[in-house]
Assembly symmetry: C3
Homo-oligomer: 352 residues x 3
C-alpha cells in the first residue's frame, strides 16, 4: 500500500545538490581556464561524428563554456530561439535524448522528434540520402542515434545542416565522452594545464570493452589528447581481444600508455579514476557484462578515487556508493547537459 | 463517400461555446471568492501525489486562479518561459497528457515527452531511483502516469524537482479531481462559502467503484473537505465491496455522509450532481463497467441536475444528453486545463 | 568500417542550395504577382479538408506569401507565439508531419503530438466526436492524417477550431497539392497570369492512379483551376479504370483536358512537367506501383522538362536524375514548408 502521508509530501523538494554537483567545481574550472573562443569558432556549422575531430584546446574551451552555463542557470538570452532541432533516435534511449533536448530547450530552441522507425515515411522507409535532403529544409541541426554505425556517415552525403552523432551502433558516442571529460576537468582542473607535473598525473582504469563499447571508444580518443596528464590507462577486461583492430596502436601512437588487466580488486587501489560501463551494443541488441565486474562499498578504492559511469547502470555499480565522495557519476550526468549546450552553441555559433 | 461540399467547409468554425463553457460561470466564481494567494504559496516546489495533501482553502484559491485564467485567455506574460516539463506517460492517455501539455504551453514552458516504455533507456529499464536522479538535471517538473501505483512514491526518493501524479494505477488522480471540483464550484459558487445554508446542501451521486477507480478515490477525498456543503454522497454500485479497506471510515471521519445504493433510476431523482465513470484500471489493463449503469434521455434526472464524467466515455453516458443543460462534463474537460495552469503556476511560484 | 577521416568532417557543411532551391525563383514569383491578401482573409478560421475549397486567386496569393517567407528566412516576428498545434498522425508519416511541425515552429507556435493510436485514450479509443470536443479546449488548430478517409469529416461535427487534412486514406491531400502548385508557379510564374498565351500552355504528365492516390486527386482539382494555362493533362497508367467514379467528368467540366496513355517513353518527349508517384494507400496498407514506370537518365525527357514527386520515392525515380535540371522534386519538398506557413498564417489570420 502506498503511504499517503509520506514525509516527502509535506515539505518543498530538497534542492540541495551534492557537493560534486554544486557550483564550486565549475566555478573553479572557470578560474582555471583562460577564455578563448577561437578554437570553438572552427566548430561552426560542422558535423560532430567522431571524437577524432576534436583538439585538446577545443575540449578545454567547451568545458569552460559548459562551466559558464552551469554556474549561470538563468541565461541572459535564449540564443537558439527560432532554431529547430531534429531529434532522431532510432535506437532506444532516454538519457541521451532528454539530455540533448533539455540542452536545446535551455538555449531557447524548438524540437521535432522521430523516435519510432515504424512511423517514419512508408513502412519500408526511404533512403538515408533522401531523409538527409528532406531534413535540410525542415530543421537547423540533427542529432541521430542509430544501431547502424554507418547511418550517420551516410547522411553526411546529402545533409547541408550539421548532424551530431548521438551514438552509432558500437562505434562512437562523442558527446558522452565530452561529458566524461567535463567531469574529469571539474574534478581536477590541473589536467587542462599546458604542462602537467609528473606527480599530478593520474591513473585511469576503464572497466569495459574498448573494441565494442562506443562510450569507451570515444573516451579513449579524447584521453589521448591529454596523454601528458595521464600516467596510464588500464583496461580491465577478461576478453581475449578487448580492443578492435588497430585501436590500441592508434592510441599508443598518440602517446597514451595502455595496459590490460583482469583482476579488478587487485588493480583498484592504484586508480585515481575508475570508469565503468557494462552495456555493449551488438547490432540491434545489447549485451550486459555486469556480473563479472562490480563496484560496491567493499571495493578497495583509493580514498579519493572517483567513479564515472555513463549510466544507465545495472548491478555493476551498487547504489551504496551513491552517498560516498567516489560518486562522480551523478555529476557526470548533470554536466552532460551543460557540455551539450556548449557544443550546440558553438556549432550554431550562437553564444549566450 | 465523403461529402466534398460539406456545409462545415464553407464557413469559419463556429466558435460559440455552450453556456456551461462560456465566461459567465468562471466570472461569477471570481466575484464569489476573495483572492488570497497565501494558501497557494505553500504549494511552491511541492510534489502533488495524493488528494490528501490539500486543504479546502487551497482548492478554493486554485479554483479562483483557474477562473482568472479562464476569463483571461490572452495571458499578459508567459511565466513558465525557460521551464521544462518532463511529460512521462507510461500508461495510455491522451486527455490527461494533452491537458497538462496544453496548460504548460499556455504558460510559456517547454516540454519533453516519454510516452513509450520500450524506448526508455535499455530495454530492461533503469531503476526509478536513477530515473529521478537524472530528471533532476534535465527538467523543472515531472508529470507521471504509471500503472504501477508505487512508481510515483518511489521517484520521490531521488527527485529534487516537483512531481505531479497524473494517475497511478488504481490509486489516485488528484488533478482530475481538481478539475471535478472546479466544475462543481463554477456551477454552484456558494459551495465555497465558509458556512453553507442547510437548504443549499447538495446531494451527490457517484456511479462507480470507489475502491478501484482512481478518479473517484481522489474526488471523495476532496469532497470530504466540503462535507458541510454536502447532504450525502451516494455511491451507486452493485459490487459487494465498493470501498477499499478503511476508505469509507476515513471519509466518514472527515464528516462526509456516505450511502451505497444499487438502483440507479430509483436514486437519480434526488441527485443534484451525478458523477459517472465506467473505466477502472486493474494492473495493466482496464475494466469497463459500462453496461450495468447508463445515463440517457430517459434517465429520471432532476431537471437541474448536472452530470460529470472524467471522460473518455463509452456507452454509459449517451450522446443525446450532450445538448441538455445536464451536460457539465464538457465544461469539466475545458476547466481541467485552467485548473492545471493554476496548479503549475503555484508549484513553480510563477503567477502571470 | 566507417571512415573517421571522412572529408565531410573537416569543413563546415556545404550550404549551397541547388539553383532550383535558391532565392531566385521565389523572388521572381514575388515580382510576378501583385500582393492581395483579400482572397486569404476568407481562409480565416476555416477547416482545410479538400482541394475543392480553394479558388485560383487563393492559391496564387498563398504562393506569393510562401515566396515571401522563402526569401525572408529570418522572420521579423513570430506570429503564432502562444498558439498550440495538435499534430495527429494516425498513419505513418515523417515528411508531412515534420513539414507541418517545422512550419508551425518557424511561425513561433507550440506543438502537441499524437503519433501512436495505441497510446490514445483507452485502448478502445473514444469517438472522434468526443476527441474533437476535447481538442477545442486544448489547442488552436489540428492537423490530421488518418487512413480512414471519413475521420476528418467526422471531426468537423464537434470541432470548433480549424482542422487541416494531412492526408485522409486514399481521398485527398490538399496541402501536398499546394506544395506542387507552388513548385509549378516558381518554375513558370506566367502560369499565374489572368490570360495565358496559347504558346505558353504546358503539357503535364501524371504517372499514377488518380482514383486511388490522394496526392494526385488533390492536384488534379487544383490544376483544373489553371485549366486555361494547361494544354492537356496526360494520365499515364495501365489500370483499366484509373479514375474513380465521376472524377474525370468533374475535372473535364471544370475545363481540364484529360487523356490517358500507357506508354511512358512514347509520351515523355512532349511533356513539360512530369509528376510521378508510386505509393497508393489502400485502407491500412500501401501499394507500391513502382516497377512498371520508371524515370532515369535514359528516359526521353524534353530537355527543359521538370519532374515533380511528393516523395518518399522508391525505384520509380532514380537518383541519377537528382543532379540534372529536371530535378524540381527537391525544390517541391523545400517549398512545402513555406506553403504550409502561408496557409497556417492565413487560417489563424496572423501574418508576419
Amino acid at each position: 500500500m502506498v503511504d499517503k502521508f509520506h514525509p516527502k509530501l509535506n515539505a518543498p523538494v530538497d534542492k540541495q545538490l551534492m557537493d560534486t554537483q554544486g557550483f564550486e567545481c565549475p566555478r573553479q574550472l572557470l578560474e582555471h581556464i583562460k577564455e578563448d573562443l577561437t578554437p570553438l569558432l572552427s566548430l561552426a556549422q560542422r558535423p560532430v561524428v567522431s571524437a577524432n575531430q576534436f583538439s585538446r584546446e577545443q575540449l578545454v574551451q567547451l568545458a569552460r563554456l559548459a562551466a559558464r552555463y552551469e554556474t549561470q542557470p538563468q541565461l541572459i538570452t535564449r540564443p537558439l530561439t527560432g532554431k529547430i532541432l531534429v531529434s532522431a533516435f532510432y535506437e532506444p534511449s532516454t538519457r541521451t535524448r532528454l539530455s540533448f533536448e533539455s540542452a536545446w530547450h535551455r538555449l531557447g530552441g524548438d524540437i521535432m522528434s522521430i523516435t519510432d522507425p515504424a512511423s517514419t515515411g512508408i513502412a519500408k522507409g526511404e533512403s538515408l540520402y533522401d531523409v538527409g535532403e528532406m531534413l535540410n529544409h525542415y530543421g537547423d541541426l540533427v542529432v541521430l542515434r542509430d544501431n547502424d554505425a554507418s547511418a550517420v556517415y551516410q547522411m553526411l552525403e546529402s545533409l547541408r545542416i550539421p548532424i551530431i552523432n548521438g551514438g552509432n551502433g558500437a562505434d562512437e558516442h562523442p558527446t558522452q565522452a565530452m561529458a566524461d571529460i567535463y567531469a574529469l576537468l571539474k574534478w581536477r582542473p590541473s589536467l587542462c594545464s599546458a604542462e602537467v607535473d609528473p606527480e599530478q598525473r593520474i591513473q585511469i582504469g576503464i572497466i569495459g570493452v574498448p573494441g565494442r563499447m562506443r562510450t569507451v571508444r570515444s573516451l579513449l580518443t579524447f584521453l589521448s589528447l591529454f596523454a601528458d596528464a595521464i600516467n596510464e590507462v588500464l583496461i580491465i577486461s577478461d576478453e581475449e581481444q578487448p580492443f578492435s583492430e588497430g585501436q590500441r596502436e592508434t592510441l599508443e601512437q598518440a602517446g597514451l600508455k595502455l595496459r590490460v588487466g583482469t583482476d579488478l580488486n587487485k588493480e583498484l587501489p592504484a586508480l585515481d579514476v575508475v570508469y565503468i560501463n557494462a552495456i555493449a551494443w551488438l547490432g540491434d541488441n545489447y549485451e550486459e557484462l555486469g556480473s563479472r565486474y562490480r563496484l560496491d562499498l567493499s571495493s578497495p578504492l583509493k580514498p579519493d578515487a572517483i567513479i564515472l559511469h555513463p549510466l544507465a547502470r545495472g548491478q555493476e555499480l551498487q547504489r551504496e556508493l551513491d552517498d560516498t565522495p567516489h560518486n562522480w557519476y551523478f555529476a557526470q550526468a548533470r554536466g552532460a547537459v551543460f557540455m551539450r549546450m556548449a557544443l550546440l552553441s558553438s556549432i550554431l555559433k550562437m553564444f549566450t
